[in-house]
Subunit: 332 residues, 2 copies
């Protein structure tokens, strides 16, 4: 990825952020990261998370900058830093107030999932038994997200809701972190129908390195992962795919429990894990953390992608998507 | 005010905003208004007020724009609109959380009073019997306001706290709306010592048209008002003065009660009013609302200010102040 005008972008991480993780982004040549700043937090709690990031930007201004537009990636790259873009894995930060969509965008949010595993006020999550599709409020919120430039992310949403969101949204949407079901049929992975509709509408999918989303889990090989990417590219086109690693580095197991149960239940829910394996799974040896992004590029070249295609998948497709997605909606 | 590069700025209003008031700003040739968006509201309530303004900006984009930098005034003027800058008359929006200073700045806040009539977490208000000066948290918050570009406003603060704020702040502060005590000794008006220290530190005072701040109240004449301005200019220099009308147009009397009692007392407090005169006073005939800004310019010329000095007072001094105040602090 030494190409001067090529950027490496990871479209989802949720690390226990520190100077160490930021320094590793630089070591791995990662120019931009979409960082989750909310799982189940309400508005005021999400603001506290933004405050924490503001401190990171102040204290580590030699390593990271706050990313608001694609141009900030250019600026980060030129100054040897990483641009951090905020995203929500749930719609809890907007509570039941559509006015908070623009407020959150002003505070830096650039992606928001309409639902996280469960039914939300807007859409259905991928673990619900029934999926009645996008709600009344969901339709209004998608319109408002389109207006201000907050990207609809359906990574943890259910099939019908996802297909409807693709249809209803006037701007391309994203599945920031998931893999195809044809490769590994986890509830969180996506059907051919979803991936095709997503790509046809100009949307993007980011491939996940989270072991529960991988065929063979922690034992999945780099070649298997990259072969899956090649098959997906054949199906939906190389221009619609990127990386969304779902890296959860240095997090204690209490955090995977928080992701799964938040405050919506008083009993434990193991999600993709199990009673015998409740914690974070081990990462594949070839993708420990941000330092291993060059391994992904090598893996992609090894399964036959050209240098240009590899650059597209490693970040340039996300770069184009960011360029078109984060500003106000243009008149038709 | 036909000078091409001259802008008219009112550095405080709290109207019952509507298309009518915005159209009157245009009629009066007002290029920028510092609009109060909080008296006693906590953070979440203040965010709701920002949401309301976002709707105004969306619905009335032919009349107003959201002002964040002095350059937005240029942009507003060129497109025949008025730039609205947000300000707080109290520090209630930051609650007891210094991280909210930057959050509020990101949401558009450009002025914040450290206290409103009463003791706050940061400073003392002008109606307290004792003024122990800037608090421990106050010192930290001033530093943070300096860092991000949120202007310290001491309009409703007490004498010692105000003098200390001028001393502690590394950037010039403002008294956005008040008059000199030498002219009308209301508790809300400012001593010579405060006005001189303010001007010496590069700060600004905006003259108020609120009748309780005027000698003769609603009967004050334009000539008396402008003569007071001329005397103040002699004392502290013409470059440190501007207008902060405190226009509270179309507000019901319940609003002046809200300003005075907020939620800090269960008994009524009449502030500058009285039991027999509890409501909003009548505005002077020569300053009904935004349409009458040209009257002020005429009045200033009539008491002997040159065309350039009149332009300075009508907005260009505030313009320079805005240019230097709203961005991040520059290294010394």
């Amino acid at each position: 990825m030494s190409d001067k005008n090529s950027y490496v972008i990871d479209c989802l991480q949720y690390c226990n952020w520190s100077e160490k993780t930021f320094a590793q982004m630089r070591e791995g040549g990662v120019d931009a990261v979409h960082a989750t700043i909310c799982y189940h937090e309400m508005f005021r709690e999400t603001v506290i998370n933004v405050e924490q990031w503001n401190r990171f930007f102040e204290l580590h201004d030699n390593l990271i900058i706050h990313g608001r537009t694609a141009d900030d990636i250019r600026r980060a790259n030129e100054s040897g830093r990483t641009a951090i873009f905020f995203g929500f894995q749930n719609c809890s930060p907007i509570e039941d107030d559509i006015g908070l969509v623009e407020i959150c965008h002003t505070l830096g949010a650039r992606f928001m999932q309409l639902s996280y595993n469960n039914q939300s006020l807007l859409a259905t999550g991928c673990y619900e038994a029934e999926d009645p599709g996008i709600t009344r409020m969901g339709k209004q919120v998608i319109k408002e997200m389109n207006r201000v430039g907050l990207v609809v992310d359906m990574s943890h949403s259910a099939e019908r809701s996802t297909l409807e969101a693709i249809e209803i949204s006037e701007r391309p949407i994203a599945i920031t972190h998931a893999n195809p079901s044809f490769w590994h049929p986890a509830l969180r992975n996506k059907s051919d129908a979803v991936l095709k509709a997503l790509a046809q509408s100009g949307g993007m999918v980011g491939f996940s390195l989270y072991p529960h989303h991988l065929k063979g889990k922690s034992d999945c090989t780099l070649e298997e992962f990259c072969t899956m990417i090649a098959k997906t590219a054949e199906m939906i086109g190389v221009e619609s795919i990127g990386i969304g690693s779902d890296l959860c580095q240095d997090q204690p197991d209490s955090i995977v429990e928080w992701m799964r149960v938040g405050r919506w239940t008083k009993t434990i829910d193991y999600g993709e894990g199990s009673a015998s394996n409740p914690g974070f799974p081990d990462m594949p040896t070839w993708f420990r953390d941000n330092r291993d992004f060059p391994n992904l590029a090598t893996g992609l070249r090894d399964v036959g992608f050209s240098q240009e295609e590899t650059a597209q998948i490693m970040g340039m497709n996300w770069f184009s998507f960011y360029e078109n997605s984060f500003g106000p909606q243009r008149p038709e």
